[in-house]
Each structure stands twice: as C-alpha cells, then as structure tokens.
Symmetry: C2
Subunit: 217 residues, 2 copies
C-alpha cells in the first residue's frame, strides 16, 4: 500500500505555501500519496500557549525576508499577500467542503491567490474564494455557501484537534505513520525517512525524553 | 578585510551546538572569521514574549527527535545532557571571562560537555566549568571566580541587549553585516549570502514590510 503523507497546513503560513509546492514531487519520488489536512494555526498556537511569528515584530520581519530568499532558491513565485495575518477560516473550511478529488486543485488556487501572485482581495473574502474555486472546476458560490454549514465547521475543528493529539504544534507539518516532520526545512529528513534511513532508536529517544529539568530559567 | 560572522548562541540550545560544529568550516570556505557572542536565550524569549521550545511539551519532544536525526546526518556526536533546561549563566559568563584567543576552545569544551558526551554533572556546575576550562588550557578555578565579577555579568547583559537590538529572537543566529541567519537550517542561505548570491531587493522587502494586518485572529 502506498505510504500516505498527511500535510497539515494553514493558508496563513508562507512556509506552508512553499512546502505545498514541494510535497507532491517529493511524494511522487517515493511512490507516496498526499492527504491535505487543513488546520487552524491559531488554534494550535492557543493550545500550546505560543505566539505566532506574525505576533513578534523581529520574527515577522525575519520570516518574510527568509521566505523571499527561500522562494527564490526554489524558483517558486512569491508575492506579498493583501493582508497578514488574515482570517483563514473561510478558505480552510472551503477545502473541507470540496470533494476529496478536487481539493488539491482548490488548495493550489487558494495558496496561489494568497502567496503566489498579488491579489488585491485576500482569501478571507468570499468572492475571492468563490472565484478560485470556480477556476478549479467547482461551483464557487455553492462551495462558499457550504462553508457556513455546521458539519463543515465541525470538520475543521476535528481536523485541528486530531493534529494536536498527534503532537503537531506548527505548520506545515507532514505526518507519516507516527512520525512528524515540521517545516519545509525538515523535508530532507522526511525524504530520508521515506527511504527507510535515519530511523531513531527507541533507546536514543528514551534517553532524551528522560532528561530531568534543571534549575528554573 | 575578512567578513566577520557573529555567532549568537546559548549552551541551552542543541541546535546551537550542532551549528557550532559547522560554522568554522563554513567560515573557512568563505575566508570569513567567527566571533562567538554568548547571549542569554531566556532573556531573548522574555524580550519577545515567547515561550522556549523546552516549555512546550509537544515541541520539546519533537526538537529532541529532530536533533538526534540532524546529529546523525551531520555525523556529530550527541548525548542527552545531565538536565534540560538548565541554568546557562555560569557557562555563558565563563566565555566572556576568557581571553578572546581561548574562547573557541572553551566553547568547544562546554558544548561537548553538554551535548557531545554524557557528563553526569552539567555546565551549571562550577566544577564542570572549571574542569572544561582547564582542559582548554585555562586556569579553571580563576575563570570560575571571574564569572562572579560585575563587569562580566554586565558584559553578558550587554551582549544580549546588542543581539536584541540587531533583531535576534532565537539561537543560534549568525549576524553578518546587517543580515541575520537564524538556525542551522539557514546555513545554506548564509553560504549563498557569503558568495554574494541570494540578495533580496529593498523593493521586495518593502512590499512585505508594508502588508497590512487583516482581521484579528
């Protein structure tokens, strides 16, 4: 059976955008499949009591510069989004409201509208989401209407909770079996894992898990 | 004049340890010099209102696993420290108390005692620091005594404040000219920068700096 890569993401993250452009060729190289899992990054942050990079001015400035550099290195188009941070709920729900077979094209379109080219109106705008969905071969208006239904809202909540239970604390994170790979920067380790290399012994991990906490900071 | 790489670090960070093993060969490849800059990571976190990875259980577990994988990939020895987090003040001050020409050997020894081999007593213990300093060719007892003097305490405070002013929010961070490279994962971009490639235009950065904040999260 093909290995399944669960790609946990939020449209808010430019690293998730860059990683999304890489995950499909990566999966293809290893005969794996990709299952996109939209999660609400803000809920992950709240759960773990963390601030997002966009909330720390020095980190926000660094991240945008790093993203520009990374995008150039990967030869991936990058543009400044209409606003950031923005409310990603509508777009995340739209992915879950779309039939599974259409999700990849829809995510492609929503990421491109946010980070790939300069759109004047972001994907927090229903008209943008409907337009992108239409271009992906879906009924845009119907999809946006569907995002307002309780079962779709609930599906996003459950997907986020499932990620938290699996130990996910940031996006993008790729889950494969019980292993997590956080960030575009971890993709070299993900590839090693898919080749069956770089396994970490339970003993080695147990030694680190058992490190006692020292004096308080 | 040789380019100077200011290596901001705290012994607390296993990524700083891994990066320290890489920064000297990297600098040598580009005819650059390395200036070690001990900073108190806890003070950076406090300044930016961030939690450290060790304070978020899911992230702590992930980081230790990632570090084990990275160390193996880099073929760098790694052992679980005596405790973590621990109080790094003594070791950081010891670096600043040492003559500049001896600092590299001392940092090598202190990082190795923490992350490179399993020591029963960590570098929060004066006897360990004195022993490591002695092995690095210094008078260990005198160095430990020197860490208690106000000018050394003040030097660490000033070094940390200087890093904050430069926009540093995490360790390891390499400062070169006005550019920052955060994390071992950024070393590919650091090397591009040292080759004079991968420059980011002021216009591109200005577009990202000017992104308006959208709806509250």
């Amino acid at each position: 059976m093909a290995m399944e890569l669960t790609f946990c993401f939020d449209f808010l993250s430019p690293y998730a955008y860059l990683a999304w452009t890489q995950i499909h060729p990566l999966a293809a190289r290893h005969g794996a499949t990709v299952r996109p899992a939209p999660v609400l990054f803000a809920a992950l942050l709240n759960h773990h009591g963390q601030k997002g990079p966009a909330e720390i001015p020095a980190k926000r400035a660094y991240v945008f510069k790093d993203v520009v550099r990374r995008a150039r290195l990967l030869d991936v188009p990058l543009a400044a989004p209409a606003s950031h941070p923005f409310q990603p709920l509508l777009a995340l729900r739209a992915v879950l409201a779309a039939p599974e077979g259409d999700r990849r094209a829809l995510i492609d379109g929503l990421f491109a509208a946010t980070w790939g080219r300069a759109e004047r109106r972001g994907i927090d705008d229903p008209a943008t989401v409907a337009h992108v969905a239409q271009a992906a071969g879906l009924d845009g208006e119907a999809l946006v209407a569907r995002t307002r239904e309780p079962d779709i809202k609930d599906a996003l909540r459950r997907a986020t909770e499932e990620a938290v239970r699996a130990g996910v604390f940031g996006v993008p994170t790729v889950r494969v079996g019980g292993e997590l790979f956080w960030g575009l920067d971890s993709f070299d380790l993900l590839e090693r894992h898919l080749r069956g290399e770089g396994g970490v012994s339970d003993e080695a991990l147990a030694r680190f898990a058992a490190i006692p906490s020292g004096a308080e900071r």
